[in-house]
C-alpha cells in the first residue's frame, strides 16, 4: 500500500543543512497498522509528511497503492491527498469558527459532492467516533479527546485507504488516549491502513509493527 525506496530528506536553510531522513526503505501492506517511534527530532513527522504527500522528498521514490508519485505539482497532488489520505495531527487542527459537523465536512468540499451527501457522510463519520450528539458544537466547547475524535471523523469522512496520525494522543491523558487508539484499531479492523507516530510504548504495542527511527535513519 505504501512503498518508500531510498527516501532522503534534507532541509536547507541559509546557514545549515539538516539531514532529516536518510535512505528510508519502507513497505506497508494494505490493512497494516504500523507505528513509528524515536527520539524527538529524529524525523518522524518528516517521514509521515512525506508519506502523506505534504512534503516532497529530496531523493527517492514513493508509491501509494501501486501508484508512483511522479510530480508534486499542486494540481496533481491535491486529489491524491483528498481521496487517498486521511490526516490526524497532535494539535487537532480544527477550525474554531466552524461547528463540529462543518469541520468534518471539509475534505468533501474539495471533491464533487452535494451538500446532502456531505451531511450524510459527516454524520456517519461522527457516529463512528461516538460524537453524534456533538455535531452542532464548536471546537471550543469540546474536551481534548473529543476534539481528536472530530479530527478522526474528518480524516475518515472521505473514506481514504490510508490514515496517517502524528502523535494523535500526544496532547491527551492516558484514558482519552486509549479511547483514540481503540477507534483507530477498529478503523484498522475495517480495512484502513494506518501509520501512527507515537511516543508511548503501550500504544505502539497495540499495532502490528513498530518502526524505529534514530537521527533520520531506520533502526528497526
Amino acid at each position: 500500500m505504501i512503498k518508500l525506496q531510498n527516501v532522503e530528506k534534507i532541509y536547507r536553510t541559509s546557514s545549515i543543512e539538516t539531514l532529516a531522513l536518510n535512505n528510508i526503505n519502507l513497505n506497508v501492506k494494505k490493512g497494516e497498522f504500523v507505528s513509528i517511534m524515536g527520539p524527538s527530532g529524529c524525523g518522524k513527522s518528516t517521514l509521515l509528511n512525506i508519506i502523506g504527500l505534504l512534503d516532497a522528498p529530496s531523493k527517492g521514490i514513493i508509491e501509494l497503492d501501486g501508484q508512483k508519485v511522479e510530480t508534486y505539482h499542486d494540481k496533481a497532488i491535491a486529489p491524491l491527498r483528498n481521496k487517498m489520505l486521511g490526516f490526524i495531527f497532535q494539535s487537532f487542527h480544527l477550525i474554531n469558527d466552524l461547528s463540529v459537523i462543518d469541520n468534518v465536512e471539509i475534505p468533501l468540499l474539495y471533491r464533487s459532492t452535494t451538500a446532502r451527501q456531505r451531511r450524510e457522510l459527516a454524520e456517519e463519520a461522527l457516529e463512528k467516533v461516538g460524537l453524534s450528539n456533538r455535531m452542532k458544537h464548536f471546537p471550543k466547547q469540546l474536551s481534548g479527546g473529543q476534539k481528536q475524535r472530530v479530527a478522526i471523523a474528518r480524516a475518515i469522512v472521505g473514506k481514504p485507504e490510508i490514515i496517517l496520525a502524528d502523535e494523535p494522543t500526544g496532547n491527551l491523558d492516558s484514558a482519552m488516549g486509549n479511547e483514540i487508539i481503540n477507534i483507530l484499531q477498529s478503523l484498522n479492523e475495517n480495512g484502513a491502513t494506518i501509520v501512527m507516530v507515537t511516543h508511548d510504548d503501550a500504544m505502539a504495542k497495540r499495532t502490528h509493527r513498530l518502526i524505529r527511527l534514530f537521527d533520520g535513519t531506520q533502526v528497526l
Binding site: G52, L54, H93, I95, I106, R154
Partner: protein, 389 residues
C-alpha cells in the same frame, strides 16, 4: 462551497463587523462621488442653446441720475448699435447669460404650477446670442400693446406645463392665477449658468418699452474686436449720460467663472474622496493581510485535505465578496432612498448609474486587496503551515 463560506463568515460576524462598516461607508462615499460626477457629465453633454463667443454684457448704471432714464437708455442703445464693430445688440435684465444673478417665478397653466427661471429681454436677444426657435416665433417689441405679455419658453418648460400639447398661443397665469403671459414661441435649451447647469424650465419675457430697470446691453461684436473698441464704447456712453457708469463683461470670462464655481467644489470633493478611498484600500489590505496570515494553519489544513492553491485563493476571495455584497446591500438600502424620496433634484437614472459604478469599484478594490495576500498565503507549504500552528 458557498454555504461553507456563509457559515465561516456568519460564525465570525463580530470580527467582520468593522470590515462591513468600512466597506459600507466606502460604498456610500463612492455613490455620492459617482452621483456628483454623472450628474455634471450628463448636464455637460446637453447643448448650451446659445452663442457666447464675441458677446459682451454691458450693465448700465444711472447712479444718482433720475432724469429721462428711458430716453437715455434708448439713445445709448442706438449709439451702440451704430458702431460697425457691433453686429447685434439686445437689451435685457441683469441676469444676462452666465451672470451670477437669478430670477424665477411661479407660472401656472390650468392645474399645473411650476417654478420657472425668468429673463426679461427685447426682441433682439434671439438674434444677438443666436437662440434657435423650434416652434412659433420670437416676440417683437411691437407685441407689447397686447393684453398679455408675450413670452418665449424653452422645451423643458413646455413639457412641464403642457405635457404633449404645443405651448404656442397658450395663456399662462402668475402665482395668483392672474392671466399674464402669452406664449409666442418655444426654444430648445437655454442653460444660462453654463454647461454644467441642469436643463431647467425657462421663460423669456418681452421687455416693456417704458422699462427703466432692465438696463443690461448684450452686444455681439465682430470677431477680433478688442479693448480699444471697449474704451471707445464706454467713452461715448459717458458723454451721452453724465454720471452713469458701465460695467462690461465678456461672456467667455463669465462662463469660465461659472465653470469654476461648479468644478472647484467637485474637484475638492474628488481629491478628498480619493484620499479617503486610498486610505480605505490600504486599511483593507492591511486587515486582510493580517487576517489571512493568521489563518495559515487553516490554509495548511485545507491544503492537506486536498484543496489546491486556487481553491484556497477562491475561498478567501469568496469570503470578501460575500462580505462586500452584504455591505453593498446595506448601502443600497440607504442609497435608493435618494431617488425614492427625491432628496436632491437629480434624475433617478443618474443614481442608478452611480450605484452600479460604486458597486463595481468596491468589488475591484476588495478583489485587489484580497487577491495578493490570499494567493500569497495559498502558496505556503502545507507541512510548514501545519507545523507553525
Amino acid at each position: 462551497m458557498i454555504r461553507h463560506l456563509f457559515k465561516l463568515i456568519w460564525n465570525k460576524k463580530q470580527t467582520h463587523a468593522l470590515l462591513i462598516i468600512e466597506i459600507w461607508a466606502s460604498f456610500l462615499v463612492l455613490f455620492g462621488l459617482a452621483t456628483l460626477i454623472f450628474y455634471n457629465v450628463r448636464n455637460y453633454i446637453q447643448p448650451l442653446g446659445f452663442e457666447y463667443e464675441n458677446v459682451w454684457a454691458m450693465s448700465l448704471n444711472n447712479n444718482q441720475d433720475t432724469i429721462a432714464i428711458q430716453e437715455k437708455v434708448e439713445t445709448i442703445f442706438a449709439h451702440v448699435k451704430g458702431f460697425p464693430e457691433v453686429q447685434s445688440v439686445s437689451r435685457m435684465s441683469d441676469s444676462y447669460p452666465f451672470s451670477q444673478s437669478n430670477n424665477s417665478r411661479t407660472v401656472k397653466y390650468n392645474n399645473v404650477a411650476t417654478q420657472i427661471g425668468v429673463v426679461v429681454a427685447d426682441e433682439n436677444l434671439s438674434k444677438t446670442i443666436d437662440i434657435p426657435l423650434i416652434k412659433g416665433k420670437w416676440y417683437r417689441n411691437a407685441d407689447s400693446i397686447g393684453k398679455y405679455i408675450p413670452v418665449v419658453i424653452n422645451r423643458k418648460a413646455e413639457a412641464l406645463l403642457f405635457e404633449n400639447q404645443s405651448a404656442v398661443g397658450k395663456i399662462l397665469s402668475d402665482y395668483d392665477g392672474k392671466a399674464t403671459w402669452i406664449v409666442s414661441g418655444v426654444i430648445d435649451h437655454y442653460k444660462d449658468k453654463a454647461e454644467f447647469m441642469e436643463n431647467k424650465p425657462f421663460l423669456f419675457e418681452l421687455l416693456k418699452s417704458k422699462d427703466i430697470w432692465n438696463k443690461t446691453l448684450v452686444i455681439h461684436v465682430k470677431p477680433g474686436t478688442d479693448a480699444i473698441f471697449e474704451a471707445k464704447l464706454v467713452k461715448g456712453i459717458s458723454s451721452i449720460a453724465k454720471g452713469w457708469s458701465t460695467d462690461i463683461v465678456y461672456l467667455t470670462d463669465a462662463r469660465q467663472k461659472q465653470h469654476d464655481m461648479t468644478l472647484i467644489p467637485v474637484l475638492i470633493f474628488l481629491i478628498v474622496c480619493s484620499f479617503l478611498l486610498i486610505n480605505v484600500a490600504l486599511g483593507l489590505f492591511g486587515i486582510l493581510n493580517l487576517s489571512i496570515a493568521r489563518r495559515r494553519g487553516e490554509i495548511g489544513l485545507r491544503r492537506a485535505m486536498g484543496a489546491t492553491e486556487k481553491m484556497v485563493t477562491a475561498q478567501f476571495l469568496g469570503e470578501i465578496w460575500v462580505l462586500s455584497t452584504f455591505s453593498v446591500i446595506l448601502g443600497l438600502i440607504l442609497a435608493v432612498q435618494f431617488p425614492l424620496l427625491n432628496v436632491f433634484d437629480v434624475a433617478a437614472g443618474i443614481y442608478g448609474i452611480a450605484i452600479v459604478t460604486a458597486t463595481l469599484i468596491i468589488f475591484v478594490i476588495v478583489t485587489l486587496c484580497a487577491w495578493y495576500p490570499s494567493s500569497q498565503a495559498s502558496r505556503i507549504h502545507p507541512a510548514i503551515a501545519l507545523h507553525e500552528d
